[in-house]
Amino acid sequence: MQTFQPAALLAPHSSHGGKPLRRIQKTGLAIFAAGLLMLAVSLTGAGHSRPLLFFLLSIGLATAGALIYILPQVKEDPPGIRNNHIFFRGMTARGAPAWLTAAILTGFYVLLYWFPQTLYPWVRLTDPLSNLLSGRPADHWFLYGTFYTLAVLVMGVRMLIRYRHNRYQLIRTLSVMFFQLGFAYLIPAFLKALNQPEFYFSYFWPLKYDYLFPNDVKRLLAQPGGLGVFMVFWGAAMSFIAVPVLTYFFGKRWYCSWVCGCGGLAETLGDPYRHLSDKSLKAWKIERYLIHGVLVFVVLTTALLWINSAGEGRFFGSLSGAFACWYGFLIGAMFSGVIGVGFYPLMGSRVWCRFGCPLAAILGIVQKYFSRFRITTNGGQCISCGNCSTYCEMGIDVRWYAQRGQNIIRASCVGCGVCAAVCPRGVLKLENAAPGERYNVTLEDSLLK
């Protein structure tokens, strides 16, 4: 195959840029940069004595700057799909800016998981906010939660503007913003203020694997008051009842692209990178081995822990604990954090969700075999352009099905709806309907008899 690429690809964002930035957007970028600079300065401990001031000057300014940059885009173009130049820009086409961003994100996760003390100057900046919400000083997880939530909210605003013509995307984006802010940030902080255990009602086993590990369950059950018992009940009910029932009715999207925090970050911060997912058949094969491998790993770990716990340590001694430790290191930290988010700019936004998340694996099995959800193909209208496949963050080759007039039923589909949004011929529609007709006859044999 000839290796023709538009000339601009060779020199990203130089020869023919997008629209020139408006003055207000330049101002926003400058404020954002100033905030980041202050954040870097704060690492020296400069903000120690005046945390609130430095919080506002760094994280506050960066947030404000980002919003000032994003908001004027409402007036930039009429509403519609605007994917212009995505494959020309270094930031979104694996150029130098993307590698730099990946390095910074990855570095942050390494520090967060294994050298959290290096982040303490930043943690101190969030003390006033932590005191306000939970009545106690921040730790590095509160810092992480603050960054995470701000990323979802700010980039959520970007997503709302980008898809302002598409109500499915608007409601879905508001939903992930709501669940991140409420269920994964404010409520856990309030629980701490009430001297209750920190608990995320929007995460459950096996994604939040320790929620059904014996230690956590026992700790919660031992809580005074009924809340701990409720939390254990909630976790188990979500894992074993809500997951199959809701997935039957709506597909895995009810969780993965509407509620989940990992999904929430992918759909907001990760949106500019969704097209980088690998669509090859090979990637699909790797995906199936990996994600189901992780599922087996976590189920085994959980079972071992419970058996050992029931036998009071007689069966496996420290073995099951070691299993849990390794799971936490390999999957919890390395896979979902460092690779899952750190590699956004290089491998797309759903690496963890696609290759690793054991909850997604379960949801996927239910979605594939026992669900009303499918993406319907509109007769013979597909022109094989490839927008749907390209913009599928889960790396599904949507076009393969669409051009055959076949419904798309795939375990990995998170139902984000972007394939349907970018389709220039209105070929795709996410639907819940009677499971019987999901696997339809293909166009190839049906139209011409």
């Binding site: 195959m1 000839q2 023709f4 690429q5 538009p6 000339a7 601009a8 690809l9 020869s15 023919h16 840029g17 997008g18 629209k19 009429p78 509403p79 519609g80 799909i81 994917n83 212009n84 130049h85 995505i86 494959f87 020309f88 820009r89 013509h165 598409n166 109500r167 499915y168 409601i171 669509k279 090859s280 058949l281 319907t376 509109n378 007769g379 013979g380 209208q381 022109i383 094989s384 352009c385 490839g386 927008n387 496949s389 390209t390 076009r399 393969w400 051009q403 709806g417 349907a420 949004a421 970018v422 220039p424 011929r425 209105g426 529609k429 996410l430 639907e431 190839e444 139209l447 011409l448």
Partner: protein, 425 residues
């Protein structure tokens, strides 16, 4: 073993190859002088705009072809010998065939405008045209597009994405009103203007002027206006590419002449897709269909014939779709730009001016004949069924919900549409 040679690796040739492979073990060779692999021609615009890389316009990964034993050959045909049944390429390679499919597609129309062959003047059809556009669009301060069809508006969108101002010369009174009824044509024309295109309706090109460097300097309209520009896009439609067939004794007219089984005058030689001119058995007008969909359907029918199950190409209820900037368009059945004898139409337009629906029906029986829709997605199967079953206008309006194909939570317009109909009664 029988050898099937297909000339052209577009949607028609490739569909034929794939469908033959499903039914038969015969040796299959596909020859193209355009690209090594099948790609989606309709997606070229997205490559230029940076939505896709060219790689992503290929509907099948490269391993697909050897796995399915479809041999792809890159080369230009210089000779087609239907007597001795072989084709020869420029580089001397020769392929003997038992059956041959001509699926050579289209070429851009040119109307002998002075200056139409100047550097900086081009059409947009092939992969090579896209490469040329990359070069021709560099450092351009204005482009002029001539010809108000689907490719013209795509080219306008492409150039705008690179911040190149576009003047769009359209011969008709409204954009595409030789196909669309007045209201729809007006709706698109408004949308085109909103996107900042300098749309000149009812304006013909007179000539293209060269500058000192020998490249295009300006386009002159028949009103005598000289529009300075460094790029001229010629998009007044396409015509069948029959150069090869002409030299080889295969009967041609405007296209390669075939019957409804896509057979040419020479046994074992077939033609399909854009390049074929289909002569109906009932003596109706010969037709050339230049759509992605029809190319695919013809390839499917032809594959059956080649594999021994002689199959007439019947395209069923007509449909087509397009996107004009942000405006999606679908059409089903028959909607003509001027009302035809014995037909009436119901037309609804959203006050926002971005959506409309036209239902054409027989005045007496009120049977549905055709649908035009902008800004709302409809379900093909339902629309086809209604037309096939000759449902009445009233039935269709009352059941419009069943045909809706918009994403979940989208605003629904069926009640408004029905209300307008009732008020008009």
């Amino acid at each position: 073993m029988q050898h099937l040679v297909i000339i052209g690796n577009g949607i028609t040739g490739i569909t034929t190859a794939r469908q033959v492979r499903k039914r038969s073990d015969m040796k299959i060779t596909v020859i193209s002088n355009e690209t090594d692999y099948f790609f989606s021609r309709t997606a070229l615009m997205y490559v230029f705009m940076g939505h896709l890389r060219f790689e992503q316009t290929k509907p099948y990964e490269d391993w697909f072809w050897p796995k399915n034993r479809i041999e792809l050959v890159r080369g230009t045909l210089t000779e087609l010998n239907t007597g001795e049944k072989f084709v020869r390429l420029e580089d001397g390679q020769m392929f003997r065939y038992d059956k041959l499919v001509i699926a050579t597609g289209s070429q851009t129309n040119k109307f002998n405008w002075p200056g139409q062959d100047l550097p900086g003047v081009q059409g947009l059809y092939s992969y090579q045209d896209l490469q040329l556009l990359e070069e021709n669009s560099r450092g351009v301060s204005r482009a002029v597009i001539v010809g108000g069809g689907l490719i013209g508006i795509e080219l306008a969108e492409m150039l705008l994405s690179r911040n190149i101002p576009v003047t769009f010369l359209v011969r008709e009174n409204y954009y595409w009103d030789n196909v669309l009824p007045r209201e729809e044509a007006r709706l698109i024309s408004r949308h085109v203007l909103e996107h900042g295109i300098d749309l000149r309706l009812h304006t013909n090109l007179k000539e293209i002027l060269p500058g000192e460097n020998g490249r295009v300097r300006a386009a002159v309209t028949e009103f005598g206006e000289e529009i300075p520009c460094q790029l001229v896009g010629l998009t007044p439609g396409v015509h069948p590419n029959i150069d090869l067939a002409k030299k080889s004794g295969v009967a041609v007219n405007r296209g390669v002449l075939v019957n409804e089984y896509l057979e040419t005058n020479i046994p074992g030689v077939y033609a399909a897709g854009d390049c074929a001119e289909i002569v109906a058995e009932d003596g109706g007008p010969a037709r050339i269909e230049q759509l992605w969909y029809t190319g695919r359907l013809q390839g499917q029918a032809l594959a059956k014939t080649i594999c021994g199950e002689r199959t007439r190409y019947q395209r069923g209820v007509w449909f087509n779709s397009a996107k004009f900037f942000d405006l999606e368009y679908q059409t089903y059945g028959f909607v003509s730009n001027e009302p035809r004898e014995g037909e009436s139409s119901f037309y609804w337009e959203d006050p926002g001016g971005k959506r409309c629906l036209r239902l054409v029906y027989r005045t007496g029986s009120r049977e549905l004949v055709g649908i035009n829709v902008f800004g709302i997605r409809l379900r093909q199967q339902v629309c086809e069924r209604w037309i096939r079953e000759k449902r009445s206008l009233e039935y269709v309006l009352e059941h419009l919900r069943e045909a809706n194909f918009d994403p979940e939570f989208f605003r629904r317009f069926e009640p408004e549409i029905l209300r307008q109909h009732r008020l008009a009664m």
